[in-house]
C-alpha cells in the first residue's frame, strides 16, 4: 500500500497524468478524526481523496466503532442536516475531493474506544475500482468550525 501510494504521489508531483491503462489508485492525504467527548455516540473523520481515474468511495469500516458511514452535511438556514450517502462519494479523475467539517465527512458510530486527541483511528476505505486502503487517522481537537475561515473570501 505504501509503495503504491509513493509511486502515485511521485506521478502527481511529476505533473504527468497517469496512463489510462494504469491500475486505478486513490491517494489519501490529510486524514484526521475529530476528538469526541467521552460519552459521544458518534465521531467525525476527514480526509482528502484524489483518484487517478474516475472512481467512487463506496464504504468505510473501522474496528474502532460499531459502524462507519459516508455522510453529507448541510447548514442552510442555520439548520444542520446530515444525510448518509448511500451510493458513496464520486471521485472524479485527478480531482482532490476533500471531506471536511461542515461538509462531507466519515461518521463513525458507536465508538469502541475513547476518541481522545493524540490517539488514532484505523480506517479501511473501499473504492469501486481502486484496491481498498487501510489508513491510520490521527485524532485531533477541533474546537472551532472550519467554516469561520471563509469570512475573508
Amino acid at each position: 500500500m505504501k509503495p503504491l501510494f509513493a509511486v502515485f504521489a511521485l506521478t502527481l508531483a511529476a505533473g504527468c497524468a497517469p496512463a489510462t491503462q494504469a491500475p486505478a489508485a486513490v491517494a489519501v492525504t490529510g486524514a484526521w478524526c475529530r476528538a469526541a467527548p467521552v460519552g459521544a455516540l458518534a465521531g467525525g473523520c476527514y480526509l482528502t481523496l484524489t483518484a487517478s481515474a474516475d472512481d467512487r468511495l463506496v464504504s468505510v469500516a473501522t474496528p474502532a466503532a460499531k459502524r462507519a458511514e459516508i455522510h453529507s452535511m448541510d447548514m442552510t438556514g442555520g439548520v444542520m442536516r446530515m444525510r448518509q450517502l448511500k451510493d458513496g462519494l464520486a471521485l472524479p479523475a485527478g480531482k482532490a475531493v476533500t471531506l471536511k467539517p461542515g461538509a462531507e465527512h466519515l461518521m463513525i458510530i458507536g465508538p469502541k474506544q475513547v476518541l481522545a486527541a493524540g490517539g488514532a483511528v484505523p480506517l479501511t476505505l473501499t473504492f469501486k475500482k481502486a484496491p481498498p486502503q487501510t489508513i491510520s487517522a490521527p485524532i485531533r481537537d477541533a474546537a472551532a468550525p472550519a467554516m469561520q475561515h471563509h469570512g475573508g473570501h
Partner: protein, 191 residues
C-alpha cells in the same frame, strides 16, 4: 403544516456562519413567542420546568449527543466562552436540551456533559415533552432514518439567548467568532 412554520422560523433565526451579522430580535414578528413552558428532566432525572430558569438570563442550545460535529463544537465553544466571561458566567443559566430523548437518557447526558463546563445543565425528557419544548422554543428538528434502522436528527444549530424573565433576546449563530459571541453573552449577563 406546523413543521414548516418552525422551519421558516428556524431559518429566520438561523445565522449563516459565513453570512452577515445575526438578525436582531426586533426583526422577528412580535406576535411570535419564542420560549415558554416545558416539562423536562435534568441529568439526575429530576423534573425541571421553565420556572427553574427565571431570575437569571439563559443560554440554551438544542442538540443531541449522537451529533458528530455541530453539538460537540458548540459545547466546546460554550465552555471556552464561559471561561472567557470570568465571574459574569455565574450570572447565566446555560442549558443543553436533548432533541433525542430515546438515546439521551439523563445518565447519557450527564456523561456527555462531563466533558464541558460544569455550569452547563442538561435537560431531556420523553419524545412528547421534548417535542413540546422544541415547539415552544421554535426549534426545528426532524428525525431522519438511516439504512441500519437507526436515525440521525436535523436540527436548528443556533444558541438562543433569553433575559431573566424568559424573553427572547437574540441567537448566536453556529460559527460566530468567539469575540462576538463572548460580547453577546457579556451583554446578556449584565443586562
Amino acid at each position: 403544516m406546523r413543521v414548516l412554520a418552525w422551519a421558516a422560523m428556524a431559518a429566520a433565526l438561523g445565522v449563516s456562519a459565513c453570512g452577515p451579522s445575526p438578525q436582531k430580535a426586533e426583526t422577528t414578528q412580535p406576535t411570535v413567542r419564542i420560549g415558554g413552558p416545558f416539562q423536562l428532566v435534568d441529568t439526575a432525572g429530576r423534573p425541571v420546568t421553565e420556572k427553574a430558569l427565571l431570575g437569571k438570563p439563559t443560554v440554551i442550545f438544542f442538540g443531541f449527543t449522537y451529533c458528530p460535529e455541530v453539538c460537540p463544537t458548540t459545547m466546546a465553544e460554550l465552555t471556552n466562552w464561559l471561561k472567557a466571561l470570568g465571574p459574569d458566567a455565574d450570572r447565566l443559566n446555560v442549558v443543553f436540551v436533548s432533541l433525542d430523548p430515546e438515546r439521551d437518557t439523563p445518565a447519557q447526558l450527564k456523561t456527555y456533559l462531563s466533558n464541558f463546563d460544569p455550569r452547563i445543565q442538561g435537560f431531556t425528557g420523553t419524545p412528547e415533552t421534548v417535542a413540546a419544548a422544541a415547539k415552544a422554543y421554535r426549534v426545528y428538528y426532524a428525525k431522519v432514518p438511516t439504512d441500519d434502522g437507526g436515525y440521525t436528527i436535523d436540527h436548528s444549530s443556533a444558541v438562543y439567548l433569553f433575559d431573566k424573565n424568559g424573553g427572547f433576546v437574540e441567537p448566536i449563530g453556529y460559527g460566530t467568532p468567539a469575540e462576538r459571541a463572548i460580547g453577546q453573552l457579556r451583554r446578556l449577563a449584565r443586562g
